[in-house]
């Protein structure tokens, strides 16, 4: 009963706040969009995947399970959703956050109607795949969640939007609000913020671990019971059909990689999360409790965590296989999979034509797709190294670990030092430089005057061997 009443309140209110399309003041919207995008940019999860929904004649939009990236920003991250905050007003004072109460920044708040219009107009022009709505805490968690609910309710029921919606669950909000929002959106996420409860206590004094885990558990049980219902009733409403995700900041507190991986594994196993996102700490505030980091955000560490995360989700690895109490951090030079293989050389070489899928997955240089292709292709005859190359195996990494028809490709040794040396000579393709510094810092190439080109004389000298 309570639910029905709540809906009618919203429907009632929607007639009052509707803005005719042409009366929009674009300069105000531009201002708000700037502030609220800037405040939302540190949120990581911008995926639009996990749910298939076809379009219909009454509404606009569909959803594609694979997700669609619509653009890429200057930092190389995908733009697939309109990622904005409802408001950057915040009652909390988290030390790592740009929007904390004690910061003197420009504050703006979108009305639900403004968000809906923006989403629809952007979506129609194929700029975005949907909406990603997060928010600072306005007044109190329940009030904020109510505003978020109102927005997605309007979007779904007034504007008949059938695209992708991802919202943040606000910890501490009334469970009924989270429940109701869950039926309208595709994905919901509750931010874990920091890997451990101690870290949270130190840097986010207003947030509590239990408050964060409660909605996470609620969403998990909601998803499960919705799936059970769908088995019996085909048209039962779907609750958070694209699943739940979370994110945590890496490098703001002193946790090691082993602790972080264990937390992530716990979340995957105990909370059935779809994804855990890691966000390299960006120092936006100066605070005595925050680490002083030189050389920009710890991008390499973030990259290693994602690699390991992939290994846990798709390659059947356990956190304890990758790291241990004695070796709590990832190797800077080698990716976690190669690192694991080098510590387990007794299992190699693997015979490509006979090994099972799980073992093939564990070979460095073989990805999920190539492993599946190997399994399929070898049904039609023995595979050779040439075939593996065609299938997409990165042979320059894999060749130390595999045999085809009993033979290795070259006369290589199964020996840790030897393989390590050879693997390191092949430069790892990282999305940034080794030290985590991005290409931006190579400014000498932008400035032509400083760019020393070899002169004609130098070229002649190099031919004659004088250089």
């Amino acid at each position: 009963m309570q639910i029905a009443d709540y809906n009618s309140v919203i429907i009632g209110s929607q007639t009052q706040i509707s803005i005719p399309g042409k009366m929009i003041d674009f300069s105000i919207i531009m201002e708000k969009l700037g502030v609220l995008t800037d405040a939302a940019k540190y949120d990581v999860a911008c995926t639009s995947s996990g749910v298939d929904r076809s379009g219909d004649k009454s509404g606009m939009g569909n959803a594609v399970a694979g997700g669609i990236c619509h653009s890429f920003s200057a930092d190389g991250r995908c733009i697939s959703l309109l990622k904005i905050l409802l408001t950057n007003e915040c009652a909390y004072d988290c030390k790592y956050c740009i929007n904390r109460k004690s910061n003197d920044v420009k504050r703006e708040t979108f009305t639900p109607e403004e968000i809906c219009t923006l989403t629809m107009e952007f979506y129609k022009r194929n700029y975005i795949e949907g909406l990603f709505l997060s928010s600072g805490i306005l007044n109190n968690p329940s009030y904020t969640m109510e505003q978020i609910y109102e927005t997605v309710f309007l979007l779904r029921n007034k504007y008949h939007f059938r695209g992708y919606i991802h919202v943040k669950g606000i910890p501490g909000a009334d469970p009924i609000l989270i429940q109701q929002t869950g039926y309208l959106v595709d994905r919901m996420s509750v931010n874990l913020e920091l890997p451990t409860a101690e870290g949270l206590k130190r840097l986010a004094p207003n947030k509590h671990r239990t408050n964060i885990l409660a909605p996470m558990r609620q969403i998990q049980t909601g998803i499960k019971s919705s799936k059970d219902e769908l088995v019996v009733f085909r048209n039962a409403p779907k609750f958070v059909p694209a699943g739940q995700s979370t994110q945590m900041i890496v490098g703001a507190t002193s946790e090691n990689d082993y602790q972080i991986m264990n937390v992530a594994q716990g979340l995957y196993q105990k909370f059935d999360l779809k994804r855990v996102f890691y966000s390299a700490f960006v120092a936006v505030n100066e605070d005595k409790d925050l680490p002083a980091i030189g050389g920009g955000p710890p991008l390499l560490r973030e990259h290693r965590l994602y690699q390991a995360d992939w290994l846990m989700r798709f390659y059947g690895f356990d956190a304890n296989e990758l790291l241990s109490e004695e070796r709590p951090n990832f190797n800077v030079l080698l990716d976690p999979k190669a690192d694991w293989a080098l510590r387990h050389l007794e299992l190699f070489p693997v015979e490509i034509n006979r090994a099972d899928y799980q073992m093939i997955l564990r070979i460095p240089g073989v990805g999920v797709k190539s492993a599946q292709r190997i399994i399929q292709a070898r049904k039609n005859g023995n595979l050779t190294f040439r075939d593996l190359k065609k299938i997409g195996v990165v042979l320059k990494r894999a060749l130390y670990f595999i045999t085809c028809n009993g033979k290795m490709q070259y006369n290589t040794k199964i020996e840790e030092n030897y393989i390590t040396r050879n693997l390191l000579s092949v430069k790892e393709r990282l999305p940034f430089d080794k030290d985590g510094v991005t290409y931006q810092q190579l400014s000498m190439f932008e400035n032509k005057e400083n760019w020393l080109l070899p002169s004609l004389e130098d070229q002649f000298q190099s031919v004659s061997g004088q250089l």
Binding site: G21, S71, A74, R125, V282, Q376, N380, P431
Partner: protein, 275 residues
């Protein structure tokens, strides 16, 4: 060595069984599938047959050129065989491979069919990557599929007067018919059109109706300036809003233009609002 080659040459000359038969087919699905039917009609080993789309660029020694005329009935028979024997997915992959501009596309599909029909389980044809023709088809189809996925995201509509959404794209491959179903489902109640500027093809989707190609001359598509005069009210503002959004969403500390270019190649940017 040279002596042996001489002997072989004389062998080729003496008997016409060793000549290569080049079958030239029209650059349409129907043309290629008719060509495949035509190839099977020749009493020759498939090894000695090459299928080409359009005139051969270079002359080949010891070859004979035949022209296959497109025939809807024959093409339909080939398509039915492909679907029955190899499944719909394989047929779809063949069509994707034929949407490329690669010179060997028809030949690869033809030889993949030959391989498939000799396999014990033809349904597994596209998994037989160790075979060169199958691998070629696989690579072509993957290239097209990647561009389809890119285009679903990178395509931009501009709203014109009367609420018509217009988009101009310049894809490498002929992918308009592969992306139209996606947008027709997404924007069922919208009038929109997609114009492929490299091939001068225009596809339209009237609201709540099936999409179709415009058959008549589409040479006189107005220029960008011309189009911008017919924008609906607010169009420019929304373009600016989105540009502002894209600029703001980037984290300065993580700036990485190299990664951006890797993910969003420059060739797409010409027709994108935010660049």
């Amino acid at each position: 060595m040279s002596v042996q080659r001489g002997i072989n040459m004389s062998l080729y000359e003496s008997s016409d069984e060793y000549e290569v038969l080049i079958i030239v087919c029209e650059n349409t699905l129907e043309g290629v599938f008719s060509g495949i039917y035509f190839a099977y009609e020749q009493k020759k080993s498939p090894k000695e047959i090459r299928l080409l789309v359009g005139e051969p660029k270079e002359l080949l020694l010891f070859s004979r050129i035949l022209y296959a005329t497109p025939d809807a009935v024959k093409a339909q028979k080939v398509i039915r065989t492909i679907c029955d024997k190899f499944g719909m997915n394989t047929y779809y992959q063949f069509c994707q491979a034929l949407a490329t501009m690669d010179e060997e596309r028809a030949d690869a599909v033809y030889h993949a069919i030959v391989v498939g029909l000799s396999m014990k389980s033809p349904m597994q044809l596209m998994n037989h990557l160790a075979n060169d023709s199958v691998h070629k088809v696989f690579c072509l189809s993957r290239a097209v599929n990647n561009e389809i996925l890119h285009m679903k995201g990178f395509l931009r509509f501009q709203e014109l007067e009367g609420g018509i959404l217009f988009s101009k794209i310049g894809p490498k491959h002929d992918i308009v018919e592969f992306i139209m179903p996606h947008f027709s489902d997404r924007f069922q109640n919208q009038n929109f059109m997609i114009y492929d500027e490299t091939r001068k093809r225009l596809a339209i989707h009237p609201a709540n109706q099936e999409w179709a190609f415009v058959d008549s001359d589409v040479q006189n598509i107005p220029s960008d300036d011309e189009i911008s005069k017919h924008y609906v009210e607010g169009e420019l503002e929304y373009q600016k809003l989105f540009q502002h959004f894209c600029d703001t969403i980037a984290i300065r500390e993580r700036k990485n233009l190299f990664l951006q270019r890797q993910m969003l190649p420059l060739r797409f940017r010409k027709n994108m609002t935010e660049f």
